[in-house]
Symmetry: C2
């Protein structure tokens, strides 16, 4: 007996996807996938303003997609590999088939 109904509320999914549905946040995630960095470093690498980066990191952290570690006056952020890796793999698989079609219409 397989249940086609979702186990979590729609709202939870919606928040999850919304968190990733933003180019700035995806940039941050990809930067952090290489290695942990503090806010200032992230700003440099991403070439983005500090307050913008902080706002987005906060959201990512709040949704469990990155972790924050205090170190003196610095805050080091790391990506939640456990979530992000399999997720991006699922999506890559989908993209392989539909990416062109998707990107064609937009911009």
């Amino acid at each position: 007996m397989d249940s086609p109904k979702p186990k979590m509320g729609k709202r939870a999914y919606q928040l999850f996807f919304s968190t990733l549905a933003n180019e700035t946040r995806l940039t941050l995630i990809n930067i952090l996938r290489q290695k942990p960095l503090n806010v200032t470093q992230i700003c440099e690498v991403a070439n983005l303003e500090q307050s913008l980066v902080s706002h987005h990191l906060k959201m990512l952290e709040h949704h469990g997609m990155v972790f924050k570690k205090k170190e003196g006056k610095f805050r080091y952020y790391t990506v939640n590999e456990k979530t992000i890796k399999p997720l991006l793999e699922s999506i890559d698989a989908h993209m392989k088939e539909y990416c062109c079609k998707i990107l064609a219409g937009k911009r």
Copy 2:
């Protein structure tokens, strides 16, 4: 040698996530997960206005997440199980750990 860099452009991911980052579209996907339905039927089940549903189905189809099949004057929509199933599984796994935290702050 494992590449931590993504294979697809950020933009593609962003579009992918945006497509799912909407409660109405998630509703439609969940309805279609049970079985294919035409637009009128979807409207009834979801209790949503026809034009709203059509707008969203169009986007879902455009992004390869549902398929459309003509049948007389009806248009039957089916969910792309191949994409949606593993995707939602990844997310459920993440949710199991972070859902409470996430939902606590919002609403």
